[in-house]
Every structure is written in C-alpha cells, then in structure tokens.
Amino acid sequence: MCNVGDDVEEEKAKFMQARTTVNLKNSVCVKCRTAKPQVVLQNQYPYCKDCFLSATVHKFKALLGKNRIAHPNEKVLIYHKTGHASTALLHFLRTGLDLTTPKKIRFEPILLFVEGDFKLSVQQRRLILQQVSEEAQRFGFRINYVCLTQYILDSTQLSSLICDKFDDVLIKENDAASIAGIMKKPNVTTQTEIIKLYEQRLLVDVAKFLNCKCIFTPDLGIDIASQLLTNVCLGRGEHIVFDTGTVDSRDSEVTILKPLRNFTIKEIALYNFFNGLEPVRFLAENVNPYKSIQNLMQKFVSDLQENYPATISTIVRTGDKLGVNKNVGEAKCLLCKAPLGTKPDTLSSSEATNFSHWVSTQTPNCGVSVRDRSKHILEAFNNADYGKYCFSCNQIQPFLCLREV
C-alpha cells in the first residue's frame, strides 16, 4: 500500500539534515545521565564539563592508538600553527607525555612553525613569532622555525633555513613580491596551490632533516572537508586519499597523520576554554570568498557547518571510503609527489578530458570519408604522457619560473 506520508519521510532522508533545534531545558548529560550539562555538541547532545573533557581526550587517544604510527622514543614533527587546533594539540600531547600510567605518550614531539603570513606587516609577523615561541615554551616543547619564502626561493639550503630562535627568522617586507616572482602571473587558485605544494614539501624535508619519521598536522574535520572538495575541483581526485585521509603515506620515509580530523572547531575551542588555554590569534584581512576555488570551498563548508552541521562529517567519511589508485607505477609526480598512474586499458577521466580537448581542436580533413576522418584523428591522438607530473600539476607547472622543481 502506498502512503503519501511515507513518501515524504523517504524524500526527507535523501536531503541534507538542516540544523535542528532541540529543547535542552532541564536536560542532563548524555554520558553520565546525572550532571547538569555545560556543552551542546552537534546542536543536540548535552554534556557536562567532565564528560565532555574526557570524551575529547579519549577521541584523540583513540585515533593515535588505532593508527600506531609514532613509535616509542621516535621523534614526531608537529606542524604548529596559530589558532585553536594547534593549541589543543599541544595540550593533548603535553598531558599525554606527563602521564605516569601505561597510556603515557612515548614519542618525542618537536614543533615546527612555518612563517608564511606574507600579507601581514613585518611587525605583525614578528609579534606572531614571539607569541608562538612563548606558547611552545609554556608547554615545554622544542620548536623550530622556517621562513616559507626563503624555502620557496631556494630549497636546497634547508639546514641554514631552520632556526631554533624566532629572532633568527628572516622576514622581509617584499616577501609577497618575491613569491610572486617565481610564478608567471597565475590566478589566485593556482598561486595558492603552488604555495601549498611547497609547504607540503617543506614539512617532509624538515621532518627528514630532523630525523622524524612522522608528522602531525592540526587539520580539523572542516579543513579536511574543504580540502576534499578543493581536490575534486582542481582535478586532484586521485590524491584525496593522501590529502585528507588519516594517514598520508605518499613519502616512503615520512608519514603524515591528521590526529584532529574527527574534531569540530567548537569541541576544540571549548576544550581550550575549559583548560584555560588561549591560542595565538591575529586579525587577518577579510578574504574574498570568490577570489579562488580554495576560498570558495572554505566558505561553502563554513556555511554547511552553520546550517547543516552533520554534512561535514559526511564529507569526511565519504572521503574515507575512497581507495588509492591501483594502476600506479614507481614514478611520482615531481611537484606533489603523488604516485603517477600507469596506462590503464580504459581511459581515465583525465585522459578522456585530453581526448575531448584534442578532438575539438583538430581541423577535420573534409576531403576524406567520415570514417577515415575519425580514424585519422584517433590514430593521431597521443594521450599526454604524464611522465613527470600528475594531471593537476601538469596544469600548474607552466606557471612556475623555476627550471626543475
């Protein structure tokens, strides 16, 4: 029997769940079922302070325990940034290291701060460095600094670029111009992509230099979601597994782990609040969301977070279901270091794109039959051999002035 009401219910399930408003007056903590709640997660689950804090710490430890990437006494490079996520990460690590129980963290964290806020004034950048150094000191961690501009201009002199005192970081007024100088007038999307590629490579290079086999980044669920959608837009679908998965094993020596990927910014900010932690913050200039694909995706996921909060974890979990391309050889992309695909029997989407571009730019020889014409075009088509770069980097590469990257 068909019922109109049922249809409506089914229809609803197909769509994204909008933010729900639950009446939480007189509610109790969902965990202990006794205490008065102080926090609401996902707009509907009330937690008391104690249960919230222990659940948050547990979530962090569960991810570390499940992946067992960092081994006892090994050094782990912590990619430290300004903002809530990094501060919470330092606190998770410090409290884990200070434990005396078997659950104690046994690896040795070393912080790395990448100075790359070229859009701010030199004075502001110096202040950020100083505050970052004070924060590391408060938590009792060793920290290193690298100026991203210097690295982009010459990555061969890494040892001279890594400083352990923030005063030694070279900051110049014209850093933004120097960076622009290595590119041939790219649009903002490509420019952002190029800087990100350098940043990624810098992380791995520093990790190797400091003998770290593992890197932790402070990416939250919302960062993962926006990176994933950006990848789709930029033809990096194949790299989603590396860029957004829990573990990035692209490099054979250094593994990148994203231990905060299952957290929301609210959980992390409240964790900091209840622990009396204040992250390093600065007033960034207003970003125009329409200037680049990356900005647009950031705005898109922030809006989702606000209006359809459950979708963020749906995006992240969808990404988790993707697998690595099996048709890969030994060769890696010179820019992003992702394994390059080998020729499969069927056309991949990038090859199909190339083919359609090829067909539509050929002048057909009208002196021969239609059959011969298409035969000729097919024979003449030589699918681009991505000998050096992956599909997406192949689009970026022409914008780089450097000889061999």
Partner: protein
C-alpha cells in the same frame, strides 16, 4: 536599597579580544530599565559601546556571527535559550571566536 544598574563581566577569547582593544576581561554596568536585559539586548549594547573594529566579525543580524561561541557562567548559551537569556547580576558572559585564518 534598590540597585539601579546590573553589573556583569564580559570575557573575550580566541581572537575576539582583538576586536575590543585586546582586552580579555571587561566589567560593565548596564542601566536598569523596565525591560529585563537579555543577551540579545546586550549584543546591541556591546556593538554601540565596546566594539572597536570590524563589527561584522562579531555581530550578524541580531545575534553573534556564526563561529563565535557564547558561554554564560561556563555554560554553552545553547542550553540557556541563546539571545533570549535573561541576564542576572554578577553573570560572566564569555565570547570565543573560532573564526579561521587568524
């Protein structure tokens, strides 16, 4: 003696303090009126009296901008009816910015 003002303290964190002359704690006295002070009313008062720059990073429509967390006496304001919460003397209301990029 009838008090003719409502004294509360405000806290700003996570970068929200940068919009208030880098002050993390501000104690204020709100004039008592016929109407009960709510957080919604307080936000208008903050905008007119305390907010020093980029109001769009703090206020949106009649509430805080998405990405600003509000706690009343260490309790998430979602548990106390958000903008409709009726302010009591000695309340501590904290605003934490979670905005990305700075």
């Amino acid at each position: 003696m009838v008090e003719n003002s409502l004294t509360i303290s405000l806290g700003f964190g996570g970068g929200a303090e940068l919009l208030f002359g880098n002050k993390k704690n501000i104690s204020i006295s709100l004039p008592k009126t016929q109407k009960q002070w709510t957080i919604g009313e307080l936000l208008k008062w903050i905008k007119d009296n305390l907010l020093q720059e980029r109001p769009e990073l703090f206020i949106q429509d009649d509430s805080v901008r998405p990405g600003i967390l509000v706690l009343v006496n260490e309790v998430d304001w979602e548990l106390v009816d958000t903008v409709n919460y009726e302010i009591k003397s000695e309340d501590k209301i904290v605003f934490i910015s979670t905005l990305h990029g700075g």
